[in-house]
């Protein structure tokens, strides 16, 4: 098995074991082990399908302090349809004040999506599943 496929499977298996946070309950989500708070804004507001755009993620630690040395990766998919995003978005820049640019976001279907965000800070990795409904 190719290593990229293995990593993808590992992330998906890990993600599937995490119940997504309640949708729209908050504008920020706490990672599974409680290390970080994750929130985002989108350059495309309201979100709509079939348009590529950028998101800015904001990462804070447990106390609410902005974190500037994180690495963010993201996988998205529709659990009900067993497929992922039509693009492979990735982090392009740390903007300071805990903000990170993630480019290449695009959704190609209305409905319920889950975005699995992995936050790496030094040796502390944590993960959160953000629920998202696009209509």
């Amino acid at each position: 098995m190719r290593s990229s496929t293995f990593i993808l499977l590992l992330v998906l298996i890990t993600a599937s074991a995490i119940a997504p946070a309640e949708e729209n309950s908050s504008e920020r989500w706490q990672t599974r082990s409680g290390y970080y708070w994750v929130s985002f804004t989108s350059d495309l507001e309201p979100l709509e399908i079939n348009r590529i755009h950028r998101w800015v993620f904001h990462i804070e630690d447990e106390s609410g302090a902005a974190i500037d040395n994180a690495e963010i990766s993201l996988l998205g998919g529709m659990p009900e349809h067993n497929h992922g995003l039509p693009t492979i978005p990735h982090m392009t820049e740390s903007l300071g004040n805990g903000d990170y640019s993630v480019e290449g976001m695009r959704f190609h279907m209305n409905g319920y999506w889950e975005l699995t965000v992995t936050v790496d800070v030094s040796d502390r990795r944590d993960i959160v599943v953000i629920p998202l409904t696009i209509s």
């Binding site: 497929h83 992922g84 492979i88």
Partner: protein
């Protein structure tokens, strides 16, 4: 017993032929329906890779080139040979036929300025780059880029228009520098001639060739879908008017389209396509190997010197978001690009090799959800629509036809 059978038959007859009134719309359905309306179509996106995309002079030149049969090896094939304006820019054939039989079904070019990808397999990422490919395909135009560049430089009318837009063309008459025919694509003879040229001369030819495609693309951007009876229906219900634009059967078909038939999973947005790649278990064309689709198209795209990041792109920043963040993966095996459903009724046959002669056959495919011959069919559940429902869905799809929204002068060969 007789009474029972008679009652049963009457029940079936009612189910199949009896009058039926559409249900009222749910809020979720209304949102979905509005999202399909042509009124929701955003402004034409810019194409930074084509510096003349919105230059009317380029559109005028592209119009001439589109209908010019001199852009072919036998002088008989133009873009309009397969993209016939009177057939919504398709050809009515299972597979396109230029000089010979091409590999796939001819897609319409109407509205393709909105798509990040071109062709069934997305092996091109702009209209201008797409326009180049058939010109050198031995089964389509069968020409070569050097002859085409020379045509631009020798025909007085084309040369004048070209140079007003793109600047001076080189002199291709020096046969020590420019062979009669040459291209990196096609026969060995063409390839040998191409290799005999120096780099800078190859670049000169490639630039003229790319500009030819950019002019054709400027013309193709003029071809957009017009409002259909469906769009009128959406406007009516948004204004709270009694709907008269669609029949009851078509409205029920629309209900199926946005709900049980799950069509909007891929055929979404005002153009009824997400322009993405899906394996839906379409059987191979008789005698052909299964089509690998996007998985091979992506390889070609990434290696294409005329892609958005290539040296012939006019995007100074080469941002090319779609290409930068393009998806790879095994799910692309056998996947082809979702076609628009606008103007569907007049563009049979359907699917990437024209495997389906009728819309009924396409709908039947989703009703059966067969195993894919290659890769994995994303449609895992049979739709299970009744015969009547399939007819209603088909009726709705046929209602998505309308004249192309373009100045009539673009819909015929130039005077």
């Amino acid at each position: 017993m007789i009474a029972f059978v008679a009652t049963l038959l009457m029940g079936i007859a009612w189910w199949e032929f009896g009058p039926r009134t559409p249900d009222s719309w749910t809020e979720a359905e209304l949102i979905e329906i509005r999202s399909l309306s042509l009124r929701r179509l955003p402004e034409l996106p810019a194409d930074p890779s084509n510096g003349v995309a919105d230059d009317p002079r380029a559109a005028s030149l592209g119009h001439k080139l589109f209908f010019d049969t001199r852009l072919s090896a036998n002088g008989a094939v133009s873009c309009a040979t397969c993209h016939k304006p009177e057939q919504r820019f398709t050809d009515g054939l299972a597979k396109g036929r230029g000089i010979a039989l091409s590999q796939r079904n001819t897609r319409s070019i109407v509205g393709t300025a909105y798509s990040p990808w071109q062709y069934w397999d997305g092996r091109k990422d702009s209209q201008w780059s797409q326009a180049l490919s058939p010109l050198e395909d031995p089964a389509e135009h069968g020409s070569n880029r050097l002859e085409l560049a020379r045509l631009l430089a020798t025909d007085v009318s084309l040369k004048t228009e070209y140079e007003a837009i793109f600047g001076p063309l080189p002199n291709f008459t020096d046969t020590t520098r420019f062979p009669d025919r040459a291209s990196p694509i096609g026969s060995e003879e063409l390839g040998t001639a191409w290799e005999s040229m120096i780099d800078s001369d190859r670049g000169v030819v490639n630039t003229a060739f790319a500009n030819l495609g950019k002019a054709i693309a400027a013309y193709e951007r003029m071809l957009q879908p017009g409002p259909t009876r469906f769009d009128n229906y959406v406007a009516e219900i948004e204004q709270g008017l009694d709907s008269s634009s669609l029949s009851d059967e078509e409205i029920i078909g629309l209900q199926l389209f946005v709900s049980d038939a799950r069509c909007t999973e891929c055929h979404n947005g005002p153009l009824f396509t997400n322009n993405e790649f899906h394996n839906t278990g379409v059987l191979s064309f008789p005698g052909d190997h299964p089509d690998r689709g996007r998985i091979d198209g992506l390889k070609q795209l990434l290696a294409d010197p005329f892609n958005c990041k290539g040296e012939y792109s006019n995007d100074p920043l080469h941002q090319c978001d779609e290409l930068t963040y393009v998806r790879t993966g095994i799910e692309l095996i056998g996947a082809t690009r979702t076609p628009s459903l606008r103007n569907l009724g007049g563009t049979a046959p359907y699917s990437h090799k024209g495997q389906h002669a009728t819309l009924a056959e396409v709908i039947d495919l989703y009703n059966r959800a067969p195993l894919a011959m290659i890769g994995h069919n994303e449609v895992e559940e049979k739709l299970g629509l009744s015969r009547r429902e399939r007819k209603q869905l088909e009726a709705f799809l046929i209602a998505l036809d309308a004249p192309i929204a373009a100045d009539p002068k673009w819909l015929k060969a130039p005077e």
